[in-house]
Assembly symmetry: C2
């Protein structure tokens, strides 16, 4: 007579997230998650094939909280894209320790697909044809993925910027670094996005 499963995937993801919140990504291990749940380590393998699948559960659980509702159609297309992008950024930024996991498992995440759907729709509406839409969508994804990492791993306001500012043998770069304090994290992210959106808009008459 089969015993009922004592766990759901969601409980597993919640336990893993609790471990990460307490001990950081480095603290995530099959043993730690098992202990968090109060089960033997090997018991986890009833629910996931391997550690990678556990990681996927965690990032899906987080990315599922991103609002995928299409923004109000009364707004211009580029504002609507900005809204969608900021929603993703907000969720990722509130779990900075997960950034490496999200990057690694992003392309297997259904949540990211659902988030991308309104983006594709908005780009179509803006007048981009199939080819242009592929390039615009991928470049937006590239920018978002890269910018979030820059923000988390090498922030403009961090120590690295000061190091660069002091490098006399790199005059242009260090001069630029000295202007970094004029730009907030938000201004940096939105400023770069605005540049990309302006470029995208230039290829349509919907600008």
């Amino acid at each position: 007579m089969p015993r009922p499963r004592s766990l759901t995937s969601d409980q597993l993801a919640t336990a893993a997230l609790a471990v990460i919140d307490r001990d950081g990504l480095a603290g995530l291990s099959m043993r730690a998650v098992a202990q968090e749940i109060g089960m033997s380590t090997m018991g986890l393998y009833r629910y996931v094939d391997d550690r990678g699948e556990l990681e996927q559960l965690v990032i899906d659980r987080v990315l599922d909280t991103v609002d995928t509702m299409p923004p109000d159609k009364g707004r211009p297309w580029y504002e609507r894209i900005e809204i969608m992008v900021e929603r993703l950024r907000h969720v990722v930024s509130s779990h900075p320790w997960l950034v490496p996991l999200i990057i690694a498992h992003r392309h297997r995440s259904v949540a990211i697909m659902r988030w991308s759907e309104p983006l594709a729709a908005i780009l179509a509406e803006a007048g981009l044809d199939g080819r242009e839409r592929v390039i615009a969508l991928r470049s937006l994804l590239a920018y978002v993925v890269g910018a979030i990492q820059l923000e988390q791993l090498g922030p403009l306001a961090g120590a690295g910027t000061q190091v660069i500012a002091d490098r006399a043998e790199l005059p242009y770069l260090s001069e630029t670094a000295r202007h970094a304090h004029d730009v907030t994290t938000d201004e940096e992210f939105r400023g770069g996005l605005a540049l990309l959106l302006r470029g995208i808009g230039g290829s349509t008459d919907a600008r």
Copy 2:
């Protein structure tokens, strides 16, 4: 009487690269590198403080091969930026297994700073002021970092794109995915970069 050091940092980096080329990034360990060199594992700790420092040696060794010579000033600024960006992409793409390491250690790499110097100079020449230059430079870096990862981890021509194309509940996204085969890897990368550069150009009169 002190014995002379038997190793240079460069030999260490070369050995680590040999391990990675043979067994992948997962095969990289202090023990494996020590064996490659023919030294005890702990001997490595005469040369690096920890594994992270070994990784930094490897990525510096690779990124040092990027050509940082400023491109011919006769060309328009956006073409010169494209040349610089393609040089970095070419080097990184020829060591795809290193991509996660490069991402993680990028902000500590002197080679990346030297590569960024001509970029900052070109942007200044294009007429961008300090604030604009900060945002343009960071957005270029974000795009490059993100796009290289997309290219390596979730290529447009890969299986993931077909999965998306078959998702009927995401009509716009799957319709867009069906146009993916019209776009080569190079066209995708350069297309996105061109969009960003057009956006940057729009904020100057040098366009």
